[in-house]
């Protein structure tokens, strides 16, 4: 009989190890090169997302260093306008599409969410793996283009008509548009996986009002992705059609409209900011709770804030378009919405203060990064209040003031929490704790360097330096401030190097972690570090919001899941009652092949429309291979109405 027996007290150790052995055999991922491409386990894919995204953070960072070097003195001839435009476009596109979303949403989400839910794997693991390969495909296209002097040079927003066929001949803007399609499909795929995991794979007992805040945030982000990303796919898709087959969506001479593009782009673009920031807030809530040694204060207000932020994020896009000359009253509606979105973020800040205030603070590394986040994001959020105001925005829009603002928001809201998250889950992912001394060096170098660079940019903006200029004249008197700003880069680079040293050293010689080195409450800390391929020996049940803190030692576990096939438990979306059992489809090479076929079709379509009719059958073949039922089920399962 394949059903796991309930564990008896006397035989506990033998029972456990037999079960562990069987589960390990059933859930094993294939080895070797072929196996690497067939792997569909969420912990592996999640780490791949993170590592790949981190590589692109470093590449994007190198571009940032180039930008700061070029601007360090007036009329610098280090890089000319053509390369400079490619560099800043690549910097923005890489950081947003290849780093921030894949790291903060996909990476952390794919790794942590199923563990926090108490699931054996993510829902639709093959779609999840497919999304990863597609993301890599998009990244290779973009960087391949850049390294062959075909990097996009029209800004990460690619406004028409500059990016249209008349003013950007060649394939540079095509590469940008297609990269968008790659990364958006990838984000959408992961959003479906994560939302389904959260709604259906939660451990029994983890009702809606007991879901950890991180799961709430990931759910809201997934839905925001599902509603926002189609807008940018439409925008970049129509742009591509204008460029490749001669449609006229954005051509004013033929009834097209240039503002239409901006509406579509920013209808995605602003929710995108929250898609990047909310995962950071989720990490902060988790870390603050753990290192304050008390349950987070204001669970309900935080949940309300997160959901409200997700909604309101869709109503503020016009504040990127204040300078286009829309009617004043219309713009004021968006001023109102942009100011109101401060409230939910404020509420989250107040709840974090209250949690620390009434807790017992342990200033370990992840918490240190959270304090960095508080300081940096606070400044970014406050300067955002200025940008919400139409008159002030009309002055500082498209200046270095805005550059300063959104680096405070995005580095503050994503990079600082990212490091908090990496140091926090590093023990779970690797089994070892990262070194604290090096971590502190990393923090202070990065924090100081960051503030030197980006606080200075506020003044440059106030004194009229526009964005995206490759050089400036000595008579503008911007060189002093620019030199100061560029000097901070040295510290930030040093900080990142210390981090890399820390990771590689701690991987080999770090203190071993055990199951739960921080004494945290999440279910992800209940298994060994790193987690076994089946995650949980027994699918747990949950009796409170902080499972490992609230649950008694004899908290029931789920039994009756088969251990000879990859059986998972599906529960009710709201009440998390067990509903039925599902079978994980297991490892497969097809998602990788499908992503190769899709990538080939996408890239080919830049050069010839024939790529679509030629590529489509390949895509269909791979998708059928992916979805075709393989092998008979071990036992015929009756089709029952549940």
């Amino acid at each position: 009989m394949a059903v796991a027996e309930p564990i008896l007290g006397n035989d506990q150790d033998t029972g456990q190890s037999v079960l562990a052995h069987r589960l390990a055999r059933t859930w094993r991922q294939p080895r070797g090169l072929w196996g690497w491409f067939s792997n569909t386990h969420h912990t592996d894919i999640g780490i791949r997302f993170m590592v790949t995204a981190f590589i692109f953070l470093l590449l994007g960072g190198i571009l940032a260093v180039l930008i700061r070097l070029q601007l360090v003195r007036p009329e610098n001839s280090l890089i000319g306008p053509d390369l400079y435009n490619q560099v800043f476009t690549m910097h923005g596109s890489t950081m947003i599409f290849l780093f921030a979303v894949p790291m903060m949403f996909q990476g952390f989400g794919v790794y942590v969410v199923p563990l926090m839910c108490g699931a054996r794997n993510i829902a639709f693991p093959r779609l999840n793996a497919f999304s990863y390969y597609l993301y890599v495909g998009g990244a290779l296209v973009l960087w391949g283009g850049f390294l062959t002097n075909t990097g996009p040079d029209v800004g990460w927003f690619a406004y028409v008509p500059l990016s249209g066929p008349a003013y950007s001949p060649g394939h540079r803007a095509d590469i940008w548009s297609q990269m968008i399609t790659f990364t958006e499909v990838s984000a959408l795929g992961v959003a479906i996986c994560i939302a389904t995991t959260i709604l259906r794979y939660r451990a029994p007992g983890m009702t809606l009002n007991r879901m950890p805040i991180l799961l709430w945030e990931k759910l809201v982000i997934s839905l925001a992705v599902i509603f926002a990303m189609p807008a940018v796919m439409i925008a970049s898709g129509l742009l591509l059609l204008d460029r490749l087959v001669g449609t006229h969506f954005f051509n004013p001479a033929e009834g097209g409209d240039v503002l239409l593009y901006q509406h579509l782009f920013w209808f995605f673009g602003h929710p995108e900011v929250y898609i990047i920031f909310l995962p950071g807030a989720a990490i902060v809530s988790t870390v603050v709770e753990c290192f304050s040694r008390r349950r987070i204060f204001g669970y309900t207000p935080i949940v309300v804030s997160v959901v409200a932020t997700g909604f309101l994020g869709f109503s503020v896009w016009v504040h990127h378009m204040f300078a286009t000359g829309l009617p004043q009253l219309s713009e004021s509606f968006f001023t109102a919405a942009s100011l109101m979105i401060v409230i939910p973020t404020g509420v989250q800040f107040f709840c974090w203060v209250a949690t620390i205030w009434h807790g017992r603070l342990q200033l370990r590394l992840p918490m240190l990064w959270c304090f960095g986040f508080f300081f940096v994001f606070l400044i970014g959020g406050l300067s955002g209040v200025m940008l919400a105001s139409v008159p002030v925005d009309l002055q500082v829009h498209d200046t270095y003031f805005v550059v300063a603002h959104f680096h405070y928001v995005l580095i503050g809201g994503a990079l600082f929490p990212m490091f908090a998250g990496i140091y926090f889950w590093f023990p779970k992912m690797t089994g070892r704790i990262a070194d604290t001394t090096l971590g502190k060096w990393h923090f202070w170098l990065f924090f100081i360097g960051f503030n030197i660079t980006f606080f200075t940019l506020h003044f440059l903006g106030l004194h009229g330096m526009p964005r995206r200029v490759y050089t400036y004249g000595p008579d503008m008197h911007w060189h002093g401030l620019n030199a100061v700003a560029s000097s901070g880069v040295v510290f930030m680079t040093a900080g990142l190097l210390v981090f890399l040293v820390n990771v590689f050293r701690s991987l080999r010689t770090g203190e071993t972690a055990g199951n739960n080195p921080w004494g945290d409450a999440g279910l992800e800390w209940s298994m060994s570090s790193p987690p076994p391929p089946y995650n949980f020996l027994h699918v747990p049940t949950v009796g409170g919001r902080d499972p490992l803190w609230d649950d008694p030692p004899d908290q029931p576990v789920v039994v009756g899941l088969r251990d000879d096939i990859r059986e998972t438990l599906v529960t009710h979306s709201l009440d998390a009652d067990p509903q039925h059992k599902d079978e994980d489809p297991g490892p497969s090479i097809w998602p990788f092949l499908a992503s190769v076929a899709v990538s080939a079709a996408f890239v080919g379509s830049i050069f010839t429309p024939w790529a679509v009719p030629i590529g489509a059958p390949l895509v269909i073949v791979t998708l059928v291979g992916w979805l075709w039922p393989h092998g008979p089920s071990p036992t015929p399962r009756p089709a029952e109405e549940v």
């Binding site: 404020g346 205030w357 526009p466 921080w518």
Partner: protein
Amino acid sequence: MNVVGNSALHMLLAQAAVLHLDRHSILHPAAPQAGHIEWLYWFIFWILLAVFVLMIGAFSRAAGKTRVAVSHPLPVMEKDEIADRRAGWGVGLATGITVITLFVVLVFSVITGKRVEGLTSKDPVTIQITGHQWWWEVTYPNPQADQTVTTANEIHVPVGTPVVVLTSSKDVIHSFWAPNITGKRDLLPGYSSAFWFEIEKPGIYHGQCAEFCGLQHAHMGFSIVAEPVDEFKAWEQQQLKIAAEPSTSEAVRGREVFLTHACLMCHTIRGTDAGSRLGPDLTHVASRNMIAAETLPNTAGALAGWIVDPQRIKPGTAMSPNPLAPDDLQAVVAYLQSLH
């Protein structure tokens, strides 16, 4: 997290920087429009500074008060009803204050917006600005075609008179921005829009394209010359004249060179055969302070360098290199410098 030091630094840097940068600065308004915005900026700034100090204070206090220096995980604190209730009051109060503050900012922002846009007049100076990659075409439209002034990159306005700017673009999106005067306005192909300003202090104010518009976005400056009404009228009358007849033999030869080379393919000099509108109108080019959209001073050397190899100075510009013989070049420069 040195709050006081930070704000002091802000003030200090702002003070130090303003001394040099007042020709192109948000914080040195020369028109009531920019003045209202500057007032609003500082109004919001002081509110935000207070919020910043309070928040950082709260975080520091919370951290200082409860920090314990042990590395092993401490036991989790029991639920504390009293602490939770106090925290509830604190969070509620802070949220309430936030909401009120934001409404105050909202009201003042909208009122300021109304003031900035509130200027109208029955008898304004009308200026049509058309964006090109990468220069500004400036016309002062008049129902009588021969009374229309056309120039480029240098905008003359009378002090103390309302000015309405009509915007359009010939190619991509540009954004017209003179920080000392008022907020920016995008020039969108397919759209035209209007905004108003009125300059109080005579002077030359700098402006620049603020919307990324391609290779030479960095070299798309302009200047606004605000002068007393009579000087403006005199300038306007001068601009309405057709090009001056060259008075020296070198200038006469220069005109001939101009009209027999590529120059006339793109430029207009009223009173000659050159009538193309692709590039800036050069009828009174010598009256302008700068050339190539505020890239070079209007001197003989700069003009010569620009004519021979504009692609070296402004890579990507629509003007092609003109490998003229040295004496031809000298003659053209002399001619252009005679066009006052």
